[in-house]
């Protein structure tokens, strides 16, 4: 059961980071370091070049070539880190000369680490709400369709087909034009969560329906029904548990998909306003060749997503009894 704990710990870690973002992030979200576009991370050090030990410090970056975005470390200068200053866990003692960039900076000179922890709030919150919505909605509809069968089944499944193939981008475009030009973050959040929940529903519904349908024909379900258990009771107590594993896996595929999809919908104008960062948008901005060759730190949201999804996977996995045998 230790893997489960590890998984839970990973998820909790991400949630805690998101919660504590204002204290963890060394910089404000939209603070730009104009002379440090795409600068590499300033790695905290303890030992200087002569082998002497110090309190944690960083070396500043010096711009070598603006057009090629290359930097060199000024190893002669040590800038001490300060703790618990300005209600931030850690920051540089000389922000103007050597800001603390734990994960480097992006193409606008913003601190990637700060954006990552703030982005965790947006992206994880959105993915959690939307996945939960999709699972509840899809689970209910799928179970109803699978259990009831007949015309109810047909209607629900055809409706889900319709949602599946209708281009969601157009729905978003239409919605966007009906909304005011300048949107606040909460409105965007609510709309995105609603759209994603609806888009995710058919995927969940279909699997649940298939599972419920086969289970309903098994002996124990008919037995339960024969014993006079109500439909709802049969469904909830006997049939849905069979779909539990499926739902967990679905959740682990929906969460990353929704995090990424947020950036896609920003294309039709349903993106978060400036003051908000999100992993999807960060990843979208990082989707260039140079992220692979020169600026790997821009890919850190993908790593963060991996940690979260792995955590979910481990935490909720179904461990078969035989595996301990």
């Amino acid at each position: 059961m230790t893997t489960r704990r590890v998984g839970a710990a990973l998820v909790l870690l991400a949630a805690a980071a998101a919660f504590a973002a204002p204290a963890l992030a060394p910089h404000a979200l939209d603070q730009r370091f104009v002379a440090l576009l795409n600068a590499p991370p300033t790695v905290p050090r303890l030992v200087d070049d002569r082998g002497a030990w110090h309190l944690p410090f960083i070396h500043p970056w010096r711009l070598v070539n603006q057009l090629e975005q290359t930097y060199e470390q000024d190893r002669s200068t040590r800038v001490r880190l300060v703790w618990f200053a300005n209600r931030r866990l850690v920051s540089s003692s000389d922000e103007a000369r050597a800001p603390l960039l734990l994960l480097g900076s992006d193409s606008l000179g913003r601190d990637v680490f700060s954006r990552l922890v703030y982005g965790a709030r947006t992206s994880l919150g959105l993915a959690a709400v939307a996945s939960l919505g999709a699972i509840l909605l899809g689970g209910t509809l799928g179970a109803t369709a699978g259990y009831a069968g007949g015309i109810v089944d047909d209607l629900l499944m055809r409706a889900s087909d319709f949602v599946l193939v209708l281009p969601a981008m157009y729905v978003a475009l239409g919605l966007r034009s009906a909304l005011p030009l300048v949107l606040d973050a909460w409105t965007v959040f609510a709309f995105l969560a609603a759209i994603f929940a609806v888009i995710g529903t058919p995927y969940v519904a279909r699997g649940v329906r298939a599972i419920v349908r086969t289970e309903a024909r098994l002996d124990y379900a008919s037995a339960a029904a024969a014993l006079g258990a109500g439909h709802a009771r049969v469904l909830v107590r006997h049939l849905l548990p069979a779909a539990r594993g499926f739902l967990v896996v679905e959740a682990t595929t929906l969460v990353p998909a929704f995090i990424v999809a947020e950036a896609t919908l920003s294309y039709v104008g349903l993106g978060f306003p400036d003051g908000v960062s999100s992993w999807g948008t960060m990843l979208h901005e990082a989707s260039s060749i140079r992220a692979f060759t020169d600026f790997p730190w821009l890919l850190s949201p993908a790593a963060a997503m991996f940690v979260v999804v792995l955590g979910l996977n481990l935490a909720f996995q179904h461990r078969p009894p035989l595996s301990q045998a």
């Binding site: 090629e68 475009l173 300048v182 400036d274």
Partner: protein, 599 residues
């Protein structure tokens, strides 16, 4: 008056996969091979660099240009048709320039008009009649002889708006469309209703099509439906340097040399230099970059993005490609406000949002150094108006250039806002990296003077609908406006208050302000003047009025970089797209590796 090639003189590049045609350009800047270290690596790059500014007669070429071989270029969107008369996007235009010839060609490297199908021309003393002599013995790719009838047919087809032509506007000169007559099979006379300074320049807009093939379509007003992409290659007949051999939808077009192409180089050898030209469709810009680095393509049809400079520089250092710095471009992205009278009725901001002072304050508040460093990674120069220093002939250095002064800007804003919070939304198109970075810089710089900017990214069509729809609903917008020619007389739709690209207040019936009326009058005068000196003085005055009222704000114009594989042995780079392929008949690849490695 003439939006060149069916495009508006200035138009909005709303799509991040570019479909715009930036035609023409003005004076060519010295082309610099970047850095001695890699410029010296290959003779090819030097050849390209030094040959720029060559005389405009295509017959005078340095000898010894290698012949034969295959060139592979990429486009990001497919052409829409083989019929340039019905569509003017960049890919359709590119293909048309391979298949067809025109009477004259504007040399994109020198901005001078050079002869093509017309061998020479004369202008009457009153400036109203141009007599053009056509080349003798020219035949279409199907062997049919070319005569003045084909020219008359092509201009008639271009004017046939009912039949679907998009080139009608491109032939407007001053008061209206010129009349064309043919006194004999090798002479065409163009008669204008009033003097028009650019003269034969507008003839670069219309490809000459075969009358013997297309006359029935013109007669039945079905021109729009002929020569679609499903036309068998053999049915196309043209005068251009290449003929179509094969078209694979969504993938590639293969062209082979047109053996009956009529242009010869200084050695008397028939052009084009190339045997084959393959145009591949690569929709993604990153994939295009990788293909160029890997040697899968020889050149792209657009400039290098600032963020792609470094990887290409490395490839150039390794000897794989040639990277050229063509200097400052002709166009800068622009920001403007909705200046339509009454647009802000009932809005508390009406008292300041359309005032000149707001825009003057903004231009003082933007640190152009920071702007250039962030948006173009330092590869740009400050600009203060629509004409950049690249357009040497028409750039007015004497127009005022407000210096960076946030304190004065702040004071100016406070003087007009009277204590009200100053806040407006800025529309930007989603998906263009340089524009999105610019939006962030504008927001940050204006924040320093107490102005709040809500940057709103919308998809292209939605944005255009707001900015240029039947009832514009926007505060301010920032994106690309491209001039279609360096000669301002060809861009009336931007300058004139009645113009369709007069973006801050389009298609006015009468000028809304006295300064717009003044610009209208000066513009008409300079377009009709036959005295170049007077034209320059008048246009400098227009630029000064523009600078005083700043209806459109300009911050930085980017430098233009282009790259080609090191196989390319001869090109004449121009500043506008397609920078390396505006004269496809004169592009050559080195014979040593003419046979490319199989993949």
């Amino acid at each position: 008056m003439a939006p060149v090639s069916g495009r508006p003189a200035f138009w909005l590049a709303s799509q991040h996969l570019t479909r715009h045609t930036r035609n023409l350009a003005a004076f060519f800047l010295a082309v610099l091979a970047l850095g001695a270290a890699w410029a010296g690596v290959r003779r090819a790059s030097n050849a390209a660099a030094t040959r720029v500014g060559a005389p405009s007669d295509p017959g005078v070429r340095p000898t010894g240009v290698p012949r034969g071989g295959e060139l592979v270029v990429s486009i990001r969107t497919e052409p829409v048709t083989f019929n340039r008369f019905v569509k003017g996007d960049s890919s359709t235009d590119l293909v048309s320039n391979l298949l067809n010839a025109k009477l004259v060609r504007i040399n994109r490297a020198t901005q001078e008009v050079e002869p093509w199908l017309a061998e020479r021309w004369t202008r009457s003393d009153d400036g109203l009649r141009y007599t053009l002599k056509l080349r003798e013995g020219v035949v279409f790719s199907d062997g049919h002889p070319f005569t003045a009838d084909d020219v008359l047919f092509s201009f008639a087809a271009a004017a046939d708006e009912a039949g679907g032509s998009v080139l009608a506007g491109a032939l407007h000169a001053g008061g209206g469309t010129p009349e064309f007559t043919a006194p004999d099979p090798l002479t065409v006379v163009m008669t204008l209703s009033e003097p028009f300074a650019p003269g034969v320049r507008i003839l670069d807009n219309v490809p000459i099509l075969p009358r013997h093939r297309l006359q029935p379509a013109l007669a039945s007003a079905t021109l729009a439906s002929v020569w679609g992409l499903d036309t068998p290659p053999g049915d196309l007949a043209g005068l251009g340097p290449f003929v179509l051999a094969e078209y694979l939808p969504g993938q590639r077009l293969i062209f082979t040399r047109n053996p009956s192409y009529f242009v010869r180089d200084a050695d008397g050898a028939a052009l084009p230099y190339l045997d084959r030209l393959v145009v591949r469709v690569i929709p993604d810009q990153d994939a295009e970059l990788l293909a160029l680095e890997a040697g899968d393509i020889d050149m792209t049809t657009s400039e290098v993005r600032p963020e792609d400079y470094a990887p290409l520089k490395r490839a150039a250092d390794a000897g794989k490609i040639t990277l050229l710095d063509l200097g400052v471009g002709y166009d800068a992205d622009a920001m403007w406000f909705n200046l339509r009278p009454g647009a802000f009725d009932g809005d508390p901001r009406a008292s300041w949002i359309q005032r000149d002072e707001l825009r003057q304050a903004i231009t003082m508040a933007i640190d152009r150094k920071v702007f250039a460093d962030t948006v173009y990674l330092g590869a740009g120069v400050p600009v203060y108006g629509p004409i950049t220093p690249a357009n040497r002939l028409w750039y007015a250095a004497e127009a005022p250039q407000p210096r960076y002064d946030p304190a004065a800007a702040k004071a100016l804003i406070e003087s007009i806002a009277g204590g009200q919070p100053v806040r407006f939304s800025l529309l930007v198109p989603k998906g263009r990296t340089a524009i999105e970075r610019a939006g962030a810089v504008i927001r940050d710089e204006l924040k320093k003077i107490g102005v709040t900017v809500d940057v709103v990214a919308l998809d292209g069509a939605a944005l255009v609908q707001r900015v240029a729809g039947p009832s514009p609903r926007f505060d301010a917008a920032y994106f690309s406006l491209y001039a279609s020619d360096t000669d301002p007389a060809i861009n009336p739709d931007f300058w004139l208050s009645s113009g369709t690209a007069h973006v801050w207040n389009m298609m006015q019936t009468t000028p809304a302000t006295s300064w717009e009326r003044q610009i209208d009058e000066l513009f008409a005068k300079q377009a009709a003047s036959s005295d170049e000196g007077e034209r320059h003085r008048l246009f400098a005055d227009i630029q000064k009025i523009f600078a005083a009222h700043q209806p459109v704000l300009y911050f930085v114009a980017p430098r233009v970089f282009v790259a080609s594989s090191s196989r390319v042995a001869h090109v004449e780079p121009g500043l506008t797209r397609p920078q390396l392929l505006w004269a496809p008949d004169r592009v050559a690849v080195s014979p040593a590796r003419a046979a490319r490695p199989e993949r």
